[in-house]
Amino acid sequence: MKKISLEKLNALFAEIAETKALYLPVDTETGAQYQKWEEGKTLSSALNTVRSAKDFFFPQTESLVHFKVEGKKIEIMDVRDEGAPFVIFGVRGCDVKSFELLDRVFLQDPVDTYYQNRRNNAIIVSLACSEPEETCFCHSFGISAADPAGDVTAWIKDGEIIFRANTEKGEQLLAPLPLEEGGEAKAEEARSEIEAITKKLPLQNLPLEKFKAENLMDFFNDPKWASLSQSCLGCGTCTFVCPTCHCFDIRDFDTGHGVQRFRCWDSCMYRDFSQMAAANPRLSQLERFRQRFMHKLVYYPANHEGRFLCVGCGRCLSRCPISMDIVKVIKELGGERDAK
């Protein structure tokens, strides 16, 4: 392991930024947001960013290809620019886990090369959570806030930041940096402290056991969806702040002298999400609401060896305008089955 005094952290950032674009959570008036590091920007002390880190690989909007139209002629133009290497610093355990879940979608055949390129070009430095929030429930999904994954894992303890490279990419990042050796004991100390706090968090023991492929129809037909979805506004907040939601739409924008084909986030909560030429199979908010949670808790696990499409980051808990979130859904639907 390697370490450096927190006082020298900014110098370290400058060093990294010399060769690669460096992104890190920065405090803004409205919460922490990932920003590109430049002189004067410091690491946020907030637990997590308002928007998740999925933006780095799956940005909200992304140009795919442009067409130039001249009279009756059409020319295709390549506008791809996902080639540059970059470092994301201070990603929390939940968000790091989300990358793995997204990889299973975008990197399976046929591979999404836009995503793949960004993913290959990224070096992820994760940061253990020193002060988890009441909305955190990553532990329910087997994620460790105390020892997150990533190319490099970092802990902050007693004025020092300790690094551990987990991958070759991580080694390569740390190697040229002016770091001291050591810090294992402090890292261990930080780890056990965080684990102790984790045990005190209010959202414990979510009843996830029954969410399995074999109960699919059972869940699908559960009458409780009606009351759960009743007050849902049909906005896309939960899906947009979610680190694992990954639905997108591909649209053409007519610029007047050509067409820009881009993709942008979509939300299964939207009325037109599953609109097809003939009709829309999901006609009410109940069906749209159900889709989101069935996907996260039943469909995805069924296709991906039981992995849930949720990392327990708690963003939807704090952002949903009407406070209807995945924890309430899990408790309402999973709980009842436990009682049976």
Binding site: F253, T255, G256, H257, Q260
Partner: protein
């Protein structure tokens, strides 16, 4: 510094069919010149102008938008320009609130007899927009060539 080509603004003029479009025609009949930057779109009444159209024009590269209609009290449909006046007042105020240059949008009442006023208005408006320069604050970069 390189000498840039003279800035030629794009100006969209929405003209009501009954007064201002006729006023524009009259300025043509009388051969009164105004800059070719002005392109007129005919609408039935000033009250047909949806704020959407103005924003759309700026998005697509317009540098100034002007609405011309019958003088208050002379609307062919009796009240259309009164509604247009309230709508545009509020819209322009909002644009200004967002930091958009106040002079990029204008409303001018031009009757069918005011060919000279139409041309004078357009001369003045184009001069104003030329002074303001390119519309940067309400542009859509995708629509740039």
């Amino acid at each position: 510094m390189q000498v840039e080509k003279n800035f030629e603004p794009t100006v969209v003029a929405f003209c009501c069919n009954w007064c201002s479009y006729a006023g524009a025609d009259l300025s043509g009949n009388n051969r009164i010149q105004y800059p070719a930057n002005v392109k007129i779109i005919r609408i039935p009444c000033s009250c047909r102008l949806n704020p959407m159209f103005i924003l759309r024009a700026f998005q697509r590269g317009a540098d100034g938008v002007i609405l011309c209609g019958c003088h208050p009290g002379d609307c062919h449909y009796t009240s259309g320009n009164y509604f247009a006046r309230r709508r545009m007042t509020l819209l322009f105020s909002m644009l200004s609130f967002l930091g958009i240059e106040k002079e990029r949008c204008r409303v001018e009442w031009v009757s069918a007899a005011e060919g000279a006023k139409f041309a004078a208005t357009m001369n003045d408006f184009v001069a104003t927009i030329t002074r303001l320069g390119e519309n940067k604050k309400l542009e859509d970069l995708r629509c740039k060539k």
